[in-house]
């Protein structure tokens, strides 16, 4: 075990600030249950430290998409992200899609309900977040765009067809709204 070189303390982060679903969470680095360790993934922090259990751990190795959250507008795999490197980031999880005041569902969530685009529901939060990010980023979305955006999402019950229909439905509505504007 080496002795700490001089640059140590100035390069080690002590506190980070995460914004999750619009709320600011200051997090200290440390060993206590309410603190985060450098080896903690964002997924661990979201689920265990902050209690947002809607985001799921499927494989914990970046290969199934169940842990997808939106970070600064982009969908990322929270199991492959160290919390300590997320200082200042704004994160949206599945819990953040509903209107916090009225409780109204995001149109995407409603579309998933209407199309029965889930079976066991385990992969659903990750898929909804990735779809949400796609709709926000791209206009003129085609079916193949949805399929490509979701290609990292593991669904074993096979909801793929209904999911694509549900997302297409929302993109059509979004296009109609923007046409109307």
């Amino acid at each position: 075990m080496t002795t700490s070189p001089l640059p140590d303390s100035q390069h080690q982060i002590r506190t980070i600030h995460l914004t999750v679903n619009g709320k600011n969470f200051p997090l200290e680095v440390g060993m206590a249950p309410h603190q985060i360790q450098p080896c903690h993934t964002l997924l661990q922090t979201i689920r265990e430290t902050l209690g947002f259990t809607g985001t799921k751990e499927g494989c914990d190795e970046g290969a199934c998409g169940a842990c997808t959250v939106i970070m600064d507008g982009e969908p990322i795999l929270s199991c492959m992200m160290l919390t300590i490197e997320c200082d200042g980031k704004s994160i949206t999880t599945i819990e953040g899609l509903q209107n916090p005041e009225t409780g109204h569902l995001d149109p995407l969530q409603q579309s998933f309900i209407d199309h029965g685009a889930f079976q066991c529901g385990f992969c659903t939060p990750g898929i909804i977040m990735a779809s949400k990010a796609l709709i926000a980023e791209k206009s003129d979305i085609e079916t193949k765009d949805i399929q490509e955006a979701l290609s990292g999402h593991y669904c074993r019950c096979i909801t793929h067809y209904q999911v694509v229909d549900a997302v297409v439905d929302v993109t059509k509505k979004v296009m109609r709204v923007s046409d109307d504007k």
Partner: protein
Amino acid sequence: MKPFKHFTVNSVDEAVLLLKTYEGRSKIIAGGTDLLGVLKSNILPDYPEAVVNIKNIKGLDKIESGTDGFLRIGPLVRLKDIICSPLIKEKCPLLATAAETVATNEIRNVATIGGNICQDIRCWYYRYPHAIGGRFDCLRKEKKGPCPAVKGDNRYNAIMGGKGCFAVCPSDIAVALSVLDGIITLRGPEGEREIGIRDFYTPLGTVMKSDEIVTEIRSLLPSQGARQSFHKFTLRKPIDFAVVSVASLVSMEGSMCQDAKIALGGVSHKPVRAQEAEQTMRGNVPEEALTAAAAEAALKGAKPLSKNAYKIEIAKTLIKKSLLL
């Protein structure tokens, strides 16, 4: 994952200093999509004591082209940014095509070009999780012993150039760079050095030292009319690492091939330039018979293992596909 110390640096010098101080017991983290997987599966005999985060270093995320005919890409440029870069789409679409085939959307949002080039191999013996009965030892992990893939299930392993280790280079970007005369700039405690992309890889690992960091990736800007292609064969689309891939850069003069650069991926520990195939193409019209001959020439030196001879046929198919008008 097991714990480690975490440092966030603001300059290349700070990074190099930390890496040097830890004497091989530290790892660089950029996007993290390879490193965290390696750490979680606990496949390395020595777990790093420290992880050095280089994402805050300014200036390493640029894509620029100069009058010298080179494209310069910072190591922190994300694969997503390569795909979306108007400059790359216009001048060097082959690179964007290669980047687009990597993994999935979410991974490309954080994975960097530097990380893609430096990522660890995917051999499933090498990657076997320690928690399920213990990791595999092999030459890459600095232990003795024959490569377990040789007598084992080597369907995804190398068909040429294997020596001691028969893993293939997993980087799609490296294959693309191989027809673009790609050069990697490394900086360490002793200063900077430049390595050609194919010399970056040896059968037992990259030449990058534990106290070095990639500071730039440079590639030739192809001429306007050159035909660029990147084809990747996988069992699934995309997600998978290449079973076999082929990058090509062909410049034509009329109906004749003036020059051809062909690189194979998924066949060796490094991207392989198919020089005999390139020779076959030069000065000839790319018709079916010619491309078939080029494909044969490219795979002439293949020495498949017990279960990966199928790669030869697939490689030939991809070569023909990329060369045929």
